[in-house]
C-alpha cells in the first residue's frame, strides 16, 4: 500500500514538474538545493505574508541571489518541514505565533521577551534574523457606536461581555477564551466562528450580528469601516513582530544583511499600506512588493 502511494506521489510529482517547466521557463532555476545562490522564499496563504515573501525575494535578488517565491504554502508545521527538507530557504514569520509553535508552554508576551525566547527555541538548523518593528497582531475591535458607549479597552469589557457576541476565527475559543476570562473577567454571550480577519468577520460586525470582532492590526477594514481597536493593557495577545525564519545553510551573510535591511525598513503602518494596496486597490502582490523594494533601496 505504502509503496503504491509513494509511486503515485512520485509519478504525480514528475508530471507536475514536467508541466511546470513547460509552463514557465522564466528564470526559474531547477536547482533549489540552496547552493550557488539559489533560494526559495515561501509564504502562507494571505495577502500580507505573500507581500512580505515577495519583498524578501526582491531584496535577496538585489543582493545577488537567485530568489524565487513559492506562495500559499499554508500552515506552520508544513512551512517548518519544508524548510528542513530544503524545499524552502526563508519564510516571513510572526514572532509570537512562531514562539508558541516551538514552545507550547510559552508565557512571554512583550516584543523583546518574545524575540529573546524565540531565538533560544528555534530548532537546530533553522534561525531567525533581526525582528522588524512592524507587527501584525490580533486585536479586538468594536463599532464606533459601541466604543462611544464606553468600550475602548479590553479592560472596559468585563461584565459587559455577557451581552456581547464575538466574531472570530474558529480557533479563537481554544486559544483565548480562558485567557480573556482570567485577565479581563470577560465571558462572551456567544463566540461565533467566522474567518481569520476576513470579509465574514467584518460583515457580521457591520450587520450587528456580532458586537466585537477579532481582526489583525494591519487590516485595511479597520480604518475603512471606522472600527475602534480595543487596548490590551494586560498584553493578552503576544507581540507579533515580523521576523525572517531561515534555514541556516540557505543564505550567506550577504543574504542576512539584505533581510535585516528589510526588517529595519518595515513599520506596522508601512506594512498596512502595502496590504491596503493589494486588498483595497486590487494591485498585484508582485508589483506592490517591487515598489517597496525600490523605494527603500533594499
Amino acid at each position: 500500500m505504502k509503496r503504491t502511494v509513494a509511486a503515485l506521489a512520485v509519478g504525480t510529482a514528475l508530471l507536475l514538474s514536467a508541466c511546470g517547466s513547460s509552463q514557465s521557463l522564466s528564470g526559474n532555476s531547477s536547482d533549489q538545493s540552496g547552493g550557488g545562490g539559489d533560494v526559495v522564499v515561501g509564504s502562507a496563504d494571505f495577502t500580507e505574508n505573500k507581500v512580505l515573501a515577495e519583498v524578501y525575494a526582491g531584496a535577496l535578488r538585489n543582493a545577488g541571489f537567485k530568489a524565487t517565491v513559492k506562495p500559499g504554502i499554508g500552515a506552520r508545521d508544513i512551512v517548518v518541514k519544508a524548510l528542513q527538507d530544503k524545499s524552502l530557504g526563508v519564510v516571513p514569520e510572526y514572532s509570537g505565533n512562531l514562539l508558541n509553535f516551538f514552545d507550547k508552554s510559552n508565557t512571554t508576551s512583550t516584543s523583546e521577551d518574545v524575540y529573546a525566547a524565540l531565538k533560544t527555541k528555534v530548532p537546530a538548523g533553522l534561525g531567525v534574523y533581526d525582528k522588524s518593528a512592524a507587527e501584525d497582531k490580533d486585536v479586538l475591535v468594536v463599532t464606533k457606536q459601541t466604543a462611544d458607549s464606553g468600550v475602548k479597552s479590553m479592560a472596559d469589557l468585563g461584565p459587559k461581555c455577557a451581552t456581547l457576541v464575538l466574531g472570530a476565527a474558529g480557533e479563537w475559543p481554544q486559544r483565548w477564551k480562558d485567557k480573556i476570562k482570567e485577565l479581563y473577567g470577560c465571558e462572551f454571550k456567544e463566540i461565533k466562528a467566522t474567518d481569520a480577519g476576513g470579509p465574514i468577520t467584518v460583515d457580521k460586525l457591520k450587520s450587528g450580528e456580532t458586537q466585537v470582532a477579532n481582526l489583525f492590526t494591519t487590516s485595511s477594514d479597520i480604518a475603512a469601516n471606522g472600527f475602534v481597536q480595543l487596548a490590551d493593557p494586560k498584553n493578552m495577545y503576544p507581540a507579533q513582530n515580523i521576523v525572517p525564519l531561515v534555514r541556516n545553510d540557505a543564505l550567506t551573510d550577504k543574504g542576512k544583511t539584505a533581510l535585516n535591511k528589510v526588517s529595519a525598513a518595515l513599520t506596522t503602518d508601512k506594512l498596512a499600506a502595502l496590504v491596503k494596496r493589494v486588498d483595497v486597490d486590487k494591485e498585484t502582490v508582485a508589483n506592490v512588493a517591487a515598489d517597496f523594494v525600490k523605494q527603500n533601496n533594499l
Partner: protein, 223 residues
C-alpha cells in the same frame, strides 16, 4: 464590472499566475480520470465475471460516490498516510470518484456483449485475455467514453474545492477573490472552469469517435 476585469487581466504577472493555476487544474482533474479508467476496467471485469463479487463491489462503489469531496480530501491522508495538504489527496480522491462512477457502466457494458460475438471470437482462437482486450473491451468503449465525459466534468468542477486544503488549481482564484472582496478573479476562475470542461468534453467525444470507427459505419443512430 468589465473595466475591473480588464484591469485585473492587464497585469502580465497575474496572467502568468492564472496560467499556472489552469495547468495545475488540468492535471489535477485529468490524471484522476486516466487513473480511474485504469482501476475501473479490471474492477468492472471482476464484477462482470464473478457474480458473488458483483453486489458487494457495486454497493461499495455507490457508497463511496456518496461521500462529499471536501470530506474525502481530508480522510484520504488518514487512509494512505499522505500529508494532509498534499496534492496527492486530491488526485487519489478524484480517482476514487472516477472509479466509483465507471465500474457500474463498465460492468453493464461487458454484460451486454452478445453471446454470439464472444462465441465467434472464441471460435477464431482468441484466448480469454486477448478476447477481453481485443473484443469485449473495445465494444464497451462507447459506454466507457460516456462515463468519462460525466467524470471529467465532475472532476473539473471538484478540483476547486481542493483550494480549501491548499491544492485547488483555479480554486485558488476563488479564495483569493473572496478574501479581497474582488470579483474578477472569481469570474475568471468560473469561466475558465466551464471552458475547460467544455473543451475536455469535446475532446472525449472526438476520441471516442476515433476509437470506435464501426459505430460510424453502422449509422448515425448511435450519436
Amino acid at each position: 464590472m468589465f473595466s475591473d476585469l480588464g484591469k485585473y487581466l492587464s497585469d502580465a504577472g497575474t496572467r502568468a499566475d492564472i496560467g499556472t493555476d489552469l495547468v495545475d487544474h488540468i492535471y489535477l482533474s485529468l490524471l484522476p480520470l486516466v487513473f480511474g479508467v485504469v482501476v475501473a476496467v479490471p474492477l468492472g471485469w471482476v464484477a462482470h465475471r464473478f457474480g458473488r463479487a458483483r453486489g458487494a463491489l457495486l454497493g461499495v462503489m455507490n457508497i463511496v460516490y456518496t461521500v462529499p469531496s471536501i470530506a474525502l480530501f481530508v480522510i484520504i491522508p488518514v487512509l494512505i498516510g499522505s500529508q494532509i495538504l498534499s496534492p496527492v489527496n486530491v488526485i487519489v480522491a478524484l480517482t476514487i470518484y472516477t472509479t466509483a462512477l465507471l465500474v457500474r457502466p463498465i460492468t453493464d457494458a461487458l454484460d451486454a456483449v452478445p453471446a454470439h460475438v464472444i462465441a465467434a471470437a472464441t471460435a477464431m482462437g482468441f484466448r480469454q485475455w486477448r478476447r477481453f482486450l481485443a473484443v469485449e473491451l473495445p465494444l464497451s468503449i462507447p459506454v466507457l467514453a460516456a462515463g468519462m465525459r460525466v467524470g471529467s466534468v465532475s472532476n473539473i468542477s471538484l478540483v476547486s474545492v481542493g483550494a480549501l486544503i491548499g491544492t485547488g488549481g483555479l480554486g485558488g482564484l476563488f479564495t483569493d477573490g473572496f478574501s479581497r472582496r474582488y470579483l474578477p478573479p472569481i469570474i475568471v476562475g468560473i469561466t475558465l472552469t466551464l471552458v475547460l470542461a467544455l473543451v475536455v468534453d469535446l475532446l472525449l467525444v472526438a476520441l471516442r469517435r476515433a476509437l470506435t470507427p464501426w459505430t460510424r459505419v453502422q449509422g448515425v443512430a448511435v450519436q
